[in-house]
Structure formats: C-alpha cells, structure tokens
Point group: C2
Chain length 282, copies 2
C-alpha cells in the first residue's frame, strides 16, 4: 500500500504472513538479525498476542504491545479503505459464478455494515460507526476447519499454498453435506479433490448462511467479508457473492477488500503508542 501517511511519515506498507506454527523460526531470524536493537516492542493482536508473549520476552527481550482483536480489525478496515481507493470490490454478475467479475465498489459511506472476519474461526460484527460496533455472532467453522478437515479427509499433511483453484465449482443445491459418505460404495468413488471441494463449499456456504441471517437480523444490506481464509480463494468469495445475491433476491451486497487478512495488523500499527487515531479514519 503506497503513499500512506502515519504520524507525519509517508511511505509504503508491506504485508507478509506466516503460520504461527513457524513462530520459532521467526524468533530465531529476528534474534540473528538483531531486531531487538531496533525496536523494543512489537504490536500484536489475537490469541497469538497472549500465546507468544513469553517467547518474545525470553528469546528477544522484546515486549508484545497487545491490542484488542476486533478494535484493530475495524480500525484497519476503515483506514485502508480511506487511504486506498481500490480497496473495496464486489462481484458483478454474482449469480453466474463461472463468469462473475471483480468490480470496484465505492465504500466512502460505509455505515452501517456487517463485517465477517473469516480466520481460523469466524466473527460477525455489526458496525455502525468507527467506535460503535457489536459482535453479533460467530462460528467455529472457519478457515481452520477447512484446513483441518481437508488434511484429515485427503490424507495430505499440509495444504498451505495448495492450488485451491483446481477444485471445481458446485452446480446444485446441497441438501446434506457429505450426506452420502456413510455409504461405502459411494465413498470409494470420491476423489481427494472432491472431498476438498466439498469441504470448501460446505464451510463457505455455512458462513454465507450465517452472514445472511445476521444481516437480516440487523437490517443491514452491506456485508463485508475479510480474513485470511479468503486469501487466494476466489472460489469462496464468488460463492459468498452468489449466496448473498441469490438468497436475498439481490437485496444484500457481498463486499470484499484487497488486503483481506491484514487489517488487524494495520489496526495495531495505528493504535501503537496510544496515538490518536481519529484522524486516520472517517
């Protein structure tokens, strides 16, 4: 993200990611590069901020500055949308999944909106203003479920970086996910790709269904989906766009953001040192 000004400094923001299972490698690298000589604290949010606090102290002699997960998420979303006009998009022609296309969306008047954060698990927030939001629902069936089930079902040990795009797209309505899989004849006929696809579609549809109910409940027509589950995962995004459009008969809009999984990190940066961040968000 270029030409970003934060606390009178202008520059580019770069985003990288790694699974927390690689944290010990990160700590070794940071130690060898003398990271603690440059900074004394690292901003962190989410469960990892608590889980790895001791390791940062012991290995690097650095503090973790911990921030609230949902606060930072929303601050990050609002900041990035304001500073990066190409941030928000939707899928044009959402009912035709194979041919739906990304289009820019003007999110300059954001409120109210539903924010669905799909990480390992899923949180759903209703956002009425920069400091006015509530967590309205959640589900434990998220990206972690997809990865875990996929590995269990397909026998692959690790599918990070796997090529999601090779899985086909669903044609028909599903009455019962995996519903035939107790039948041993049918079990023999499914491929690993079928199982991975079924898992992706099942998890995605469930999230879409819950998001739609929450939007109805709150009488809000914009639903913004973020989180690392959506990274390089156009199948899920297109499915979510389709599901929102179809089940709401066009009255709900599924929106997506280009920096889908980094808003918590960005929000941490903005909140660091308790600086007044009101100026950064509308």
């Amino acid at each position: 993200m270029d030409d970003v000004e934060i606390r009178n400094r202008t520059g580019s923001l770069h985003f990288i990611r790694f699974p927390t299972s690689e944290m010990s490698n990160f700590l070794s690298l940071a130690k060898s590069k003398g990271m603690a000589d440059l900074v004394t604290a690292v901003c962190a949010t989410g469960g990892g901020a608590y889980k790895f606090e001791k390791d940062f102290m012991h290995e690097l002699n650095m503090k973790l500055a911990k921030f609230d997960e949902l606060d930072t998420l929303i601050k990050g979303v609002l900041f990035s949308e304001l500073r990066n006009t190409a941030e928000c998009y939707y899928f044009h022609n959402a009912r035709n999944i194979r041919h739906s296309e990304k289009k820019s969306y003007d999110f300059s008047k954001p409120y109210p909106f539903i924010l669905v954060n799909v990480g390992s698990g899923v949180s759903l927030l209703a956002v009425y203003g920069p400091n006015n939001y509530k967590r309205i629902s959640g589900t434990s069936l998220g990206g972690g479920t997809f990865l875990g089930l996929c590995c269990l079902l397909t026998g692959f040990k690790d599918i990070y970086g796997g090529d999601y795009a090779r899985f086909g797209l669903p044609g028909d309505l599903v009455a019962s996910s995996y519903g035939q899989m107790h039948n041993k004849d049918k079990q023999g006929k499914v491929s690993r790709e079928d199982l991975a696809n079924a898992t992706l579609v099942t998890i995605t549809n469930n999230i879409g269904s819950i998001a739609r109910m929450c939007a109805l409940n709150e009488k809000i027509d914009k639903v913004v989906f973020v989180g690392n589950f959506l990274r390089v995962n156009s199948i899920s995004m297109k499915l979510l766009a389709y599901a929102m459009d179809f089940w709401s008969e066009g009255s709900l809009k599924a929106l997506f953001l280009n920096h889908e999984g980094y808003f918590g990190a960005l929000g941490c940066l903005l909140q660091f040192n308790n600086s007044d961040i009101a100026e950064y968000i509308r």
Copy 2:
C-alpha cells in the same frame, strides 16, 4: 403411542425406522408378505416419496400417496403433543451438561415456536398456528453430514447403531473446529473417538447457533428440536439445551419431543384420504 383415536378408530401407534439404503429389502419383505393385498397405497413424504415411487409401483403394484414434508411434520408435531401429554420435555439445569435432566414441559399453548428439523439436512420453520408457518432457514450440515464425515474421518464404513454415548462431552469453547488438524504432529495424537466427538459437537453447535439467530430474528422464545439426528443422541440434545440457555442468557428455551423423528410419518397418516385433520390439532 397408546389410546390414539384417528377417524373413529382407537389403538396404539407403533413406530419403526430403517435407512432408505435398505429399501430394496423392505420391498422384498412387503412382496413376500402380500402387503399389496391389504392396502393399495402407502403414505410417504420427503425426498424418498419421489425417489422410490417407481419401485413401489413396479415391485408391489402399490401407489405412494405423497404429502408435503413440512406440512406433515407440523401436523404430526401438533397431533402428538395434543394426544400424548408426555411428549414434550426440556433439560433442567441446562448449563451443567453432565447433570442436566429431562423434565416434562407443558406445550399446551404452543404458538409461536421455532421448529428445527434435523434430518440429513436441517430445516428451520417459524410456526404461528396450525396452518400458519414459514420456512425461515436451513443448512446442509445435519445428520447426513455427521454420518458422512464420521465415516470418512474414522475409517468406519457404517456407524448406524453406533454407541454415541461413549463419546465424551466438550468442556471448553471451540474457536475453530478441527483447527489443529492440519498439524501432522497433532493429527497423530487424536483417536477415532476424538474425531467422531469433534464432528458431533461441531454439527450440533452449528445447528444451535443458526437456531438461536432464527429465534432472535423472529422474536420467538421457544425452539423445538426434532428429527432423527436426535434419536438416542442425548449428547446433542444436552448440547443444544446448553447452547440455547447460555447464549441467550436464559431467554430461549430448547424443547424436545419423545417421538423425535416420526412426525412426518404421523402427519402423513393424518392427511391420508384428504380427511379433515382440523379436529386432530389445536
């Protein structure tokens, strides 16, 4: 169900069940016993009423009298509750899953209520009167998903009749179902029982979460769970009772019915020959 009067005949209703994968055995038995000499039509509902229509005609020369799945479900529920005062119950002390207990519930003033039918898939209805209801939501993650996923995950080919009760009960809140299962070290440490339990808890919690949102949406405080998924499945029922009570802070009541999976069949019987069933339900 004893001392039931239907069209001036009084007797006991007996309920039996078998999976539709056994339908050819049922047809053979019916043929050998001369079932077609006694009756000319069998009442049926659900997808099977369409799927097996030809087989009944070819094998037995019998018609299937097909009835709407949701109509018969509701008629069956209302009839059985009216004729069997011990039909409806709840779990007392729902927050303490290990010690919660079945207690009779007076369902004589039923309306409005949410009806959650957990079969292979799940349908959620808002019921305002005997002929006034709407389907408000549904999910494909139901009993079929549990059976299918369990068989895929545990390697068992068929777990019908499996002893669900041996699976343990959950203690902690789950952030991401199966969330650690992409980690090969952790994958090696889980047993088949753990995986079956995780599947049961995941499916059940998801159903509970959707039911709660629907109840909020419709401003209805009674949620009746039925369907064959709940048969000999006190773990799921207690989990649902716990989830409803906990997440609603006591304002939602989870109710259950003793003939959980037979209301569609009962509703079919009542509707057969287009008889006026108004007298059978309140």
